[in-house]
Structure formats: C-alpha cells, structure tokens
C-alpha cells in the first residue's frame, strides 16, 4: 500500500537520482538540446524535496501538488511545466485518498501522463518523454485488468518504460528544441524520455524493492 510517506520517499529518491544523473542527463541533452535538462531537474527536485521537508503536506494530494508547484517555479525549462503538469494532475487524481491501491496508482500515472500530452502536444514517436510514459501507463493499465499485483504492475510498467526510452534512439525529434536538429537528432537517446524512465523506475525501486511496501 502506498501512503503519503511513500510518496515523499519517491520524491526524495527522485531528487537523489536526478542529482546523481545530472551530468548524464545533461550529456544526453547536449547532443540534441540545450544541455540543461539534468541541471534543471536537479534544481527543481532539490527544491521540491526541500519544500516537502519544510512544509510536510498533510496528504498524498497535497504532497503531489507541492511538488508540482515547486517544479513549475524552479525548473525553468520545458520540463518544468511538463513534469509540473504531471504532478498537478496526479495530485487531482489522488484527491481525498490516504492510501493508493494498484488501480489508484495506475490512474495517477495515467492522469499525469495525459496532462503531459495535453501540455506538450507531443504524440508517440515524436522522441519525447511521451514515448516512455505512454507505454508504461498502457502496460500498467493492462496489468491491472489482468489482476496482477502492485509489484508486478510496477515492474512491467518499468520494463515498458525502458523499452520506450531506448526506442527513442533511432527516432527523429518532432517536438521541443531537439526538433530544430531534424535528422541530426536521429541516433541519440532523448533526455526527456530518459528522465521520464527514471520517474517510473524510481517509483518501482522505492515501493517494490525497498522494505517499506
């Protein structure tokens, strides 16, 4: 079962991983973007984690909203409003819930990803975070229908996310700064797809692999 504490753990772990992977994400972004993705996410999640420490929002929805607002204010690049929208929609989806079941979790991710798609207007195959998140959400929803438990659902979601992330390598970017490169964007893994993969993977890591769940 996932409660407010587990959500906080997820955000803190995300802060840690984006901090650790700052240079890697920035390296990916320097190939096809403006080399700020890692820096921006590190700044945003560091601020978000700090905000959670300072404020201790009372429930899941409030925690996610705090993260959303902090990311919006501090990330600066396009990933600010995109991940900000993800957490804002996730917050709405979790409103009034003190614990999240497998179905709630799938709904939360689906709402967040839907928000990203609406905000960025990217479609599958545009070489963006959508390429990671859409298959992840679809897989989780399928797993839910197959009545698979929360751990397997997350594991399968992460596997789909990873596949989606790697599949961005041969694509030509059609959204964001990378699209300016046209064909030259082919052959590079998309940094947004990579950070999105981490978003899902860390959720699985902290909720499935750690003893908390």
């Amino acid at each position: 079962m996932i409660g407010n504490e587990q959500i906080r753990t997820w955000i803190k772990a995300l802060q840690q991983i984006y901090h650790d992977q700052k240079d890697y994400l920035t390296l990916l972004d320097s190939a096809i973007g403006d080399a700020d993705h890692g820096i921006n996410l590190d700044r945003g999640f560091t601020a978000a984690a700090a905000e959670l420490d300072n404020n201790s929002p009372p429930d899941i929805s409030a925690t996610l909203k705090t993260v959303a607002m902090t990311l919006i204010r501090t990330v600066g690049g396009a990933s600010g409003p995109l991940y900000g929208t993800f957490f804002l929609r996730a917050s709405t989806a979790c409103a009034g819930k003190s614990e999240l079941q497998a179905s709630d979790l799938a709904t939360m991710f689906a709402a967040g990803v839907e928000g990203i798609i609406q905000r960025g207007k990217a479609q599958l195959g545009d070489k963006t975070m959508v390429d990671t998140l859409t298959p992840a959400v679809q897989t989780m929803q399928q797993a839910l229908q197959d009545q698979i438990d929360i751990c397997q659902m997350l594991e399968q979601g992460v596997a789909a996310a990873e596949k989606g992330m790697l599949a961005t390598v041969p694509l030509q970017a059609r959204k964001g700064r990378a699209s300016y490169l046209g064909e030259r964007s082919i052959g590079h893994q998309d940094p947004g797809a990579t950070s999105a993969y981490l978003l899902v993977k860390i959720a699985k890591d902290v909720w499935v692999d750690s003893p908390v769940v």
Partner: protein
C-alpha cells in the same frame, strides 16, 4: 485598458523590450513581464506561477494579451492559465506573434484603443513587413529562361521598371493613417512585387521636392507610423520593381476608398439625373452587377451570446460538439449539392474546404483540450479556437490565406449556431421575393438563397474579391456592400422589413423609399440595362465569322447543368467539353447508369440540337473520391489518372459509356477520351466503347450507335503522334492547360510556377500547329479547349494556326466572337508565322497583344 504580459526566458531581454515599448507608446500601458528563474531571476527559464502573477498584476476586464518567446515559455504560459481564477482566464489571449515585433505592434494597438482581437491580429501581422523586406529583391534572376517567361505582359516596360514610378495620394480619412488604415496600406503595398517608399509632403506645397518627413518603407507598419500622416496630408509614393505600376494604382485606389474606412463626410459622386436619396451613406462597394428593386428582408443572426460557464461533464460536452459538427456537415453537403447542380462543380468546390475545416485535427485537438482540461463549454471553446485560427490566417500576407479567415469564421459560425440550439438550415426560404439585408456576404449565405426569390443582396461587410462576392456574381444576384456607419440611423440593418429599396450593383448607388418619380427613373435604368444585356447576347448568338469568311465554331466548356444553360444563353454552338467529374464528386458511391443518363439527357435538352462532347471521367490521386480508392501518388498528375484509371476500372468505365450511349438516342451526345498519351490507350478505349455498345445491344436497350469519338490532346506524346491517332477519332480537342503543364513540366496548381503556365509558350504553339497539320491531312477537325481559348490575345493566334473550334467558359463567348469578327485570315496567318519562331511566352504574348490592340 488591455494589459500586456511578456513571457521570456531572459529577464534582461524582457526588461529591455519593455523599455523599447515605452519608446513607441506614450501612454502608460499596463505591461508586466515574467522572465527568468532562480535567484533574482538570473537564470534562463520561465515560471508559470510568475506568469500567473504578472497577468494578475495588469488584469482588467478589458483583457490581457500574452506574448512569449519560445519553448518552455509557451508551455509555462499555458500552464499559468490553470493557476488563474476563471474570470481572469477567460479574458486572456495568447498571441503567437514573434516577441519583439509582436509586442511593439500590440502596444501600439492597445494605446490606439483597439479591441483585443485587433491587437492580436496586428501583433501576428508584425512579422509580415520584415519577411517582405528581407525577401530577395529579384529571385527570378536565378535562371535564364524562366525569368523571362515569368514576367507577364508588363515585360515591354523594359528599362522603365528600373526607374522608380511615382504617385501622389491624399489621405482623407478622418483620423489620418492611424493604426488600422496604416495596416491596410501596408497590406496592399506588400501584396505586390515592388519596393515601395513613402514620404509625407509639406502641406500646401505642390512640389515633389518638398518632403516633410521620410521616405520610409511602405511595407513597414512602424515606419509608416513615424510619418504621422493626418487627414489631408499628401504622400509621395515611389515604387520600383516588376509590379511598380500596379502597386501605385492599388494604393491610389485604396486612398480613394478612404483606405478601407467609411468616411461619413466625404460624398461620393452623385449622378446628375438620379440623386440617391441618402447621400452620406453612399460609401458603398459595388459587388455584383444588376439593378434590384424590392422590399427589404433581413437575414439576421439573432444569436444569443456565447455562454461563459464552465461545464461538469467534459465528455458529454465533447459529444455535444460532435453532434453540432455533424449537423453542420449535413447542412454544408446540402448546400454543396445544390450549388453543384446550379452553379457547377468549381463553385461548389469551395465548400470542400469547409468540410475539411470541420475535420481539422489541429482545430479539434485545441477545442478538446479546452473542454477536457479547462472544462470550458463547447460553444466557447469552439468559438475561441475558430476565431484565433481565423485571426492567424487573416494576419498572413497572402490574400488567398486571408480569404481562408473569412471562410473559417463562416463555417465556424454554423457550428456555434447549432451548439446554441439554432437550426442550421441548408436552404433559406423567404415569404416573398425581396432584397436581402445581411451582416456579411458569405459563401454559405449565397449558397442558401434562391436567385428566383432573392432580388438582390445588401451586405454590411465584405469586399468584391471575397468568395461570397464571386458566388453572387456567378449566380447573377445583384449585390452591394453598404457599411453600417457610425451615427448612421438609416443604415440598411435598421430598415424595417418590407421597406422599399433599390440599388445598382454596378455603381453601388442605392435609394431608400424612393419617390414614385425616382422609382420610375430606376425602373427605366433597369430596363435599359436589361435591354443592353439582351442586345449583347443577341449578337453573341450570331456565328463567329472572320471578315474574309472563315467560320470558327465557338463552344462552351461545361461542368454542370447550370453551365449548359448559361452556354446556350451566351451563344455557344456546342458543348466542346462536358466535364463529367461533377457526377462523381461529393458522394459516397459511384453514380448509377440511370442517374448519369438522366443528367446527361437534361444537359442535352438544354443544348437542343447542338452537339455535346462528353468527356469521360478525368480524375486522379489529387481528388478525393472515396469509393474509387485512388492510390496516394507522389506525382498525381503523372500517375494513375483519367483514361488510365478508367481502363483499369472496367465497371466504372462501362457504366459511364453505357450512360452516354443511351443519352445519345435523344440528343447529339458524343464521346471524348481524356489524357491519351499512347496509341494503345485509344485502341483500348474504343474496344471498351464497342463492348458497351454490344452489351446494350444484347439487352435490347436503345442507344446511339455509331457515336462520334474524339480525344483530348493534353500530352506532348499525343500531339506529336496526332497523325497516328487521326484514323481512330473524328475530332481532336487540345486541352492547353494540361498540355502546357506537361510540356513545360510545371504543375499548374503550384503558385511558384505560375510563370510557366502561359499556354502561349512557343513550345505549346508549335505542338498545336503540328496537331492542326496532322489532322488536316486526315480531314479531321481540331478544337482548343484550354483557358487560352477564352484569352482575347490568344484567339487570333489560334485562328491563325488553323484551329477550327474554340471551347471556353460560357461567360467569355460574346467577347471571343466579337474578336473573331474583326479578324481577317491573312493577317491572322501572318501573326501565327511571326509568333511560332519565338522562344519565350513573353515574346509571343507581346506580339499577340500588339496584334489584338491593332484590331
């Protein structure tokens, strides 16, 4: 006052921009910025919360225009909407204009007190002058030959075009060249291929030397603004380049029309014998010829305002929109069908774009987002999206694109009406014949009216080149545009239904409640006009015979029953080409044999004993005919089209051939095969025809047999092999539009290649000569049915080349007949001999024009 918010990645950039704006507008503008992130906003980035705060800080009920730089600025601005209270959100207009240019243009407009739509529109337009200015000045220099052909008749100005041409115009607008007229001026100047410089002259001086201010570029709104042109000021305009003369004429006309603004205190010329009753309102625009007299009926959109409320169930709301769109589609189909049979396929085709608009993913996605994400009601979401897109089109420099704006609003308003619970009707009915008063002359409106019921149309807005105006002229409905003027209590919109009015669609004059004396005068004028019309028509029914006795048959190109009717009225001796595509387009299944036969017979009836050359289906991958499952082709004009398609779809082909043969029992129907390029095609086509005959024979169905068979010459191959084709056909019809396109390898719809589209190109003329000679050796006749058949300068050339028949749009028949009657064959032959050795269309056209002028 409208507030302005600048969203940028960089705080220094935004601050500098605000400083720049203050230079342009003296007023204290409510302006705020949201730029940069992090400590003291020193880092590049954008922050949605900051943007929401900035919007709040300059918010007033007048609304907010937000301009942004790029990338995350757009996403963050979009996100900020979610953070704002509803009443603020609904007043926000995101403007896609380039940041610096757009902000300045918007600020100028806000300071000038424009409404928010105009502000956004002007901002979007701000890039146009720059694009124009940085455009290579003479891009045609890149290649030798096309550079010549691309210059149309104006070539003989030669060196003259190198020197600037000049004109002096006087600005009579009450407020001078303020923002809106200045934009009109800039738009007009930018529409031509010419460098336009404008200087303000010292008032009271006649000398061209006494320049008070300038010169500045005539296509820069901001530069023009610096001249500070007031009412009565005279402007010296210098233009250089290909269109120098034309741009000066256009600007002169614009000035005479008060730069698009109605000037209540300027009286238009009043004719001596027939003074219109209310002169100050006479700033009208003649739209469609004809004199209308009758009672007024209003076509008012008594539309409830677009609701503002948010909705709870987005999916239900989305469904509601889908239903409204479906209802609109149905109404458009109805109108299209009707136009197709009355005005023909080409006119009806403009509604295809309407249908496409309703299916446009980009539009639907935007609307859906507003409904689903922001819970905006469908009416408002649709209305705002359509308006924004129309504004974006209106801001484009291309007049065709601008016309799209009016069309999008036209189609969009039907959906709004449906959402508001109003009936979207396909056809408009009036209790008695009347003069219809409408807010705007839209294609939808013209398509809805019955020319028998509507004596004339008076529109409050619109121009002579709008699609609605073109349709009105084609339908023969007299029309004028009479703007509703400020403080005008007697504008047409306010007339009570049934008030007797009259107007003249060729001059724009009108009379409200004319006295009986005046009414008699107007009636007399109307009768004179009708008499002159019928006299011109009468002459056009005489055959076209040159002065030395050679007869040239004049036929009409037709694509509908209506065309056939007009063709007879205008004196066509045959239908030279009946385009049968109208039978196939805009439907879900192919037309049955009976259906086709019936329509063909109907056309035959209209034509009496005159022959009708029925051209078999001539379409390809460039046309959407769902039931034909046409492949998408890389080069549709070089692909599986026309006869090639017919030969591969035997069922479709047989149905059409049988219908033509059957219609031929009562009328002189003949068969014409299009786009033949190889001998085998004509042999196969003939076999198909024989097969159709055989099957009808077997079924003992009466039909015409034998039937005269003709072929189109549209490919260089067919032209060069005409002697080999001649034994198989009775008649060759040279389709010069396609023949030119295939000879010069230049797609005729490509706007970049219009310079290649002149069929007076010597290569095409040599092919025509070749066909005439080959046909003559076999005793066969040759006609020309492309656009040049109706081109006054080309007519003597074609006659001189030995062409026996010209087939053209019905409207041009009287003129072409008149030209032929002025010709003598000796000089026409000499003209052809003089033109054939030229190497450029421009040379050929110059010689042809010179000859025409000498007639």
């Amino acid at each position: 006052m409208i507030g302005l918010v600048i969203v940028s990645h960089s705080k220094p950039l935004a601050d500098a921009l605000i400083d720049l704006v203050r230079q342009f507008s003296a007023n204290a503008l409510p302006i705020a910025r949201a730029a940069g992130v992090g400590l003291e906003r020193r880092e590049f980035g954008t922050d949605a919360v900051d943007i929401a705060d900035a919007i709040q800080s300059v918010y007033s009920a007048d609304g907010i225009v937000v301009l942004m730089d790029l990338g995350s600025a757009i996403l963050s601005a979009d996100m900020a909407l979610e953070l704002l209270p509803d009443e603020v959100r609904s007043t926000i207009h995101f403007c896609a204009a380039p940041l610096v240019e757009g902000t300045i243009a918007a600020a100028v407009q806000i300071a000038a007190g424009s409404d928010i739509e105009t502000v956004c529109q002007e901002a979007l337009r701000a890039l146009c002058p720059k694009i124009e200015q940085l455009k290579p000045s003479d891009s045609t220099d890149l290649s030798d030959e096309p550079a010549e052909t691309s210059k149309k008749p104006s070539h003989d100005q030669g060196l003259e075009t190198e020197l600037p041409q000049e004109a002096i115009i006087t600005i009579r607008n009450v407020h001078g060249l303020h923002a809106r007229p200045a934009a009109r001026f800039v738009q007009t100047a930018a529409a031509f291929d010419a460098d336009v410089q404008v200087a303000k002259l010292v008032s009271g001086s006649d000398s061209r030397q006494s320049i008070a201010k300038g010169p500045v570029s005539g296509i820069s709104l901001t530069s023009l603004a610096t001249l500070g042109v007031l009412r009565g000021d005279r402007l010296l305009i210098r233009a250089k380049g290909q269109d120098a003369k034309r741009v000066l004429e256009a600007l002169n006309r614009l000035a005479e029309e008060h730069v698009g603004e109605a000037s209540p205190d300027i009286l238009s010329p009043v004719s001596s014998d027939l003074s219109p009753s209310v002169t100050p309102e006479n700033a009208t625009i003649p739209i469609s010829e004809g004199i209308a007299i009758g009672p007024v009926a209003h076509y008012r959109l008594l539309r409830s305002p677009v609701p503002d409320d948010l909705i709870d169930d987005p999916e239900a709301e989305w469904q509601r929109l889908q239903q409204a769109i479906a209802a609109t589609q149905q109404a458009i189909q109805q109108r299209r069908q009707r136009l197709n049979t009355t005005l023909g396929q080409e006119q009806a085709a403009m509604f295809d774009a309407y249908l496409l608009t309703l299916e446009d993913r980009a539009i639907l996605d935007q609307v859906r987002e507003q409904i689903v994400q922001q819970h905006v009601n469908a009416t408002k979401a649709w209305h705002e999206t359509i308006t924004a897109i129309a504004n974006a089109y209106a801001a484009l420099p291309d007049t065709y694109q601008q016309q799209r704006a009016a069309d999008i609003l036209d189609v969009g308003s039907d959906v709004v009406a449906s959402l508001l619970g109003e009936t979207v009707s396909g056809i408009l009915t009036l209790p008695e014949p009347a003069i219809l008063i409408v807010p705007e002359l839209t294609p939808t409106l013209v398509a809805q009216v019955d020319p028998g019921q509507v004596l004339g149309i008076v529109a409050v807005t619109g121009g002579p080149t709008s699609h609605g105006a073109i349709l009105a002229r084609n339908a023969g409905i007299p029309a004028i545009v009479a703007p509703a003027l400020e403080g005008n209590t007697r504008s047409f919109m306010n007339l009570s239904a049934g008030t007797l009015v009259a107007f003249d669609g060729s001059t724009g004059e009108f009379w409200i409640e004319p006295s009986s004396q005046l009414l008699n005068d107007v009636r007399k004028r109307r009768n004179d006009w009708l008499a002159a019309q019928s006299q011109a028509l009468e002459v056009s029914h005489q055959p076209a015979i040159t002065r030395d006795g050679r007869r040239v048959k004049i036929a009409a190109n037709a694509g509908s029953v209506f065309d056939a009717k007009i063709a007879v009225q205008r004196g066509a001796e045959a239908i030279g080409v009946l385009r049968t595509e109208f039978l196939y387009l805009t439907r879900q299944t192919s037309p049955s044999e009976e259906e086709q036969m019936e329509i063909l017979s109907h056309i035959g009836e209209n034509m009496g004993n005159a022959p009708v050359y029925v051209r078999t289906l001539d379409v390809g991958g460039d046309k959407a005919i769902p039931y034909l499952s046409l492949p998408t082709e890389a080069n549709p004009f070089l692909g599986l089209r026309s006869i090639r398609l017919s030969l591969r779809q035997p069922d479709l082909f047989q149905t059409q051939l049988r219908a033509i043969l059957r219609a031929g029992t009562a009328h002189d129907m003949r068969i014409m095969f299009p786009m033949i390029s190889t001998l085998d095609e004509i042999i196969q086509a003939r076999q198909c025809l024989e097969q159709a005959h055989q099957s009808l024979e077997d079924e003992q169905i009466p039909h015409r047999w034998p039937i005269p068979m003709a072929m189109m010459i549209e490919t260089p191959s067919a032209a060069l092999l005409a002697a080999s084709f001649a034994p198989y056909v009775e008649y060759f019809s040279i389709g010069t539009n396609d023949l030119t396109q295939y000879t010069l390898a230049a797609e005729r719809g490509n706007p970049e290649l219009t310079g290649y589209a002149d069929a007076l190109h010597p290569s095409v003329l040599q092919l025509i000569r070749h066909v005439v000679e080959a046909a003559g050796q076999h005793g066969k006749q040759v006609g020309v049915c492309g656009e040049i058949a109706g081109d006054p300068a080309a007519v003597p050339v074609l006659v001189g080349l030995g062409v026996n028949e010209l087939s053209l749009s019905p409207g041009g028949i009287p003129r072409v007949k008149t030209i032929i009657r002025q010709l003598d064959m000796l000089s026409a032959l000499a003209l052809a001999e003089k033109i054939l050795p030229t190497a450029r269309a421009s040379e050929a056209r110059a010689i042809a024009q010179e000859y025409l002028d000498s007639l």
